[in-house]
């Protein structure tokens, strides 16, 4: 298991009232939006466990939606995320659902849709604003981190064995970044790969460059983008 950062304890800087139910929820929302790669038209949240019991009082609903709207955990606008969503014409719905015994009590399943595709993400908020992403569509993964910890690239590409080595070489060639390991899972004829990286943060222009120059890639998302407080 990777090590906890001092700033997982001393932070995040956030809008109240609960780090697991508000800040963590916002972060799961940010993550889902980053993975969806586009503006969703309709978002459905399935709240599990403690999220389902007490989401109203902790503003979990507003925070989740705020995350989907790319708000940061310290953004005072979270309070008004319903209004912002209405203005942006994004439909949202909250449902209570028991997702299974193996999940942490603070878990949500987010289903994002637009006219072209549909995607689901399951994430848990495990306390202190630290979150874990456990499932993307049918792809079991285990990503853990707070804003400031993700140094991962999520890549969706064709079932093609050359894509990942090519990307890996390209990332390794960037100064100050190394690839530690790669996780891969295939679903619906596509492969989703996660490259865990060490070293400095990857910059957005570099990510765009990678996406442009590599063939057979649908999208590359840098999860370090969520880093800022």
């Amino acid at each position: 298991m990777d090590e906890i950062s001092i700033f997982d304890i001393a932070g995040p800087i956030m809008v109240g009232p609960s780090s697991s139910h508000t800040a963590g929820a916002c972060k799961i929302g940010q993550f889902a939006r980053a993975l969806f790669h586009g503006t969703p038209r309709k978002v459905t949240f399935y709240l599990h466990g403690s999220f389902a019991e007490v989401y109203k009082g902790h503003a979990t609903d507003r925070a989740l939606l705020g995350g989907i709207l790319k708000m940061r955990t310290s953004d005072p606008l979270i309070k008004d995320s319903f209004k912002v969503a209405a203005k942006k014409k994004i439909k949202y719905e909250f449902k209570k659902k028991f997702l299974g015994k193996r999940y942490h009590p603070n878990t949500v399943k987010i289903v994002l849709e637009n006219s072209r595709r549909k995607m689901s993400v399951i994430g848990s908020s495990v306390g202190g604003g630290v979150i874990e992403i456990l499932k993307i569509d049918n792809f079991n993964i285990h990503l853990r981190g707070r804003a400031g910890k993700y140094l991962s690239l999520v890549v969706q590409h064709d079932k093609n064995k050359t894509v990942v080595p090519e990307l890996k070489a390209k990332v390794d060639a960037l100064k100050g970044i190394r690839v530690h390991d790669v996780e891969q899972r295939t679903y619906k004829g596509k492969t989703l790969s996660i490259l865990h990286m060490g070293g400095r943060r990857i910059k957005l222009p570099e990510v765009i460059e990678l996406e442009k120059t590599t063939k057979h890639v649908d999208f590359i998302r840098s999860l370090s983008k969520l880093e800022k407080q």
Binding site: F7, A10, H104
Partner: protein, 299 residues
């Protein structure tokens, strides 16, 4: 890893080997973990400190109610009482600490900006204790930073060995952790040894074992806000005991293990679900009704 630690024992060994305080090891650990320079880490903590201070100062002036209207305005009342200290039993440091803790927690309840330290539920304790005592010793900002780093290191050990999520471990995991962290931070600021820091932490943490997380309607307001204030008293008391030479009979690492065990066996109804304890008293159910929540049973 050179500065790796997961338990108090390992951390104390590191401080002995390098002959530095806990806060220094915390910085080195983070620097090694993230690959950032020490100065970057110090700056990040400075930013954290400044946000905490802002939350204290805004909260102390505000008497706005929370969104649901069941809390707010108490920080100001206690802060005012400082003007008439003769009427109070506590001393200036403890009363100011309570005022600061209430200020942060109330800010949190009205969806203001705060620093979760270690979580939002217990966010008032560390700033309350550390800012108030720093004013007392006229300590510079640098010393305050030491307190914060030391407190974070203790929080890290709790997070590794147990949990800091009330949904998993009850209130002991949130306010309890915060009190243990504040006790250690304060002890280091006062010049205590690493052992004394952990004695203070263990003494404080032991008195929070098994505390239920049963807030009304699941809101982080009642009893959370006032628990933060009382937590400051406990942290200061534990630090005083450690500085006077009192040792914890059970070492800190074992207390953490106990917290983990208690958290596991604690019933679900008192783990931030609003299904037991204070949440289902007649008052608790009234708040639930106001929010449109389902009422399961009443005491």
């Amino acid at each position: 890893m050179k500065y790796h630690f997961q338990t108090a024992e390992e951390l104390i060994k590191l401080t002995k080997r390098h002959n530095v305080p806990i806060s220094e090891i915390a910085k080195l650990y983070e620097s090694q973990r993230s690959g950032n320079a020490i100065s970057t880490i110090r700056n990040k903590m400075k930013l954290t400190r400044d946000f905490m201070y802002k939350a204290v100062k805004t909260g102390i002036k505000s008497n706005k109610k929370s969104i649901m209207g069941i809390s707010g305005g108490d920080a100001q009342k206690i802060y005012e009482s400082l003007k008439n200290l003769k009427r109070m039993m506590g001393n200036k440091v403890t009363i100011r600490a309570m005022a600061y803790a209430l200020a942060v927690s109330e800010q949190n309840a009205r969806m203001g900006r705060i620093v979760a330290f270690p979580t939002a539920g217990g966010a008032g304790v560390v700033p309350g204790v550390l800012f108030s005592s720093a004013e007392h010793f006229k300590a510079g900002k640098r010393k305050l930073l030491r307190g914060l780093f030391c407190a974070s290191a203790v929080g890290l050990i709790i997070a590794e060995g147990s949990t800091i999520s009330a949904a998993k471990g009850g209130c002991q995991a949130e306010v309890g952790s915060a009190v243990a962290m504040a006790a250690a931070g304060l002890t280091e600021m006062r010049g205590g040894t690493p052992e004394q820091c952990f004695d203070a932490s263990a003494i404080a943490f032991k008195s929070y074992l098994g505390l239920a997380c049963d807030p009304l309607a699941g809101l982080v307001e009642v009893p959370c806000i006032k628990r933060n204030a009382i937590g400051c008293m406990n942290a200061i008391g534990a630090s005083d005991m450690a500085m006077a030479g009192v040792q914890s009979y059970v070492p800190f690492d074992e207390v953490v293990r106990a917290a983990r065990d208690i958290g596991r066996t604690m019933p679900r109804t008192i783990k931030e679900t609003a299904l037991g304890g204070l949440a289902i008293t007649p008052t608790g159910n009234r708040v639930k009704k106001k929010l449109g929540l389902r009422i399961t049973r009443e005491l």
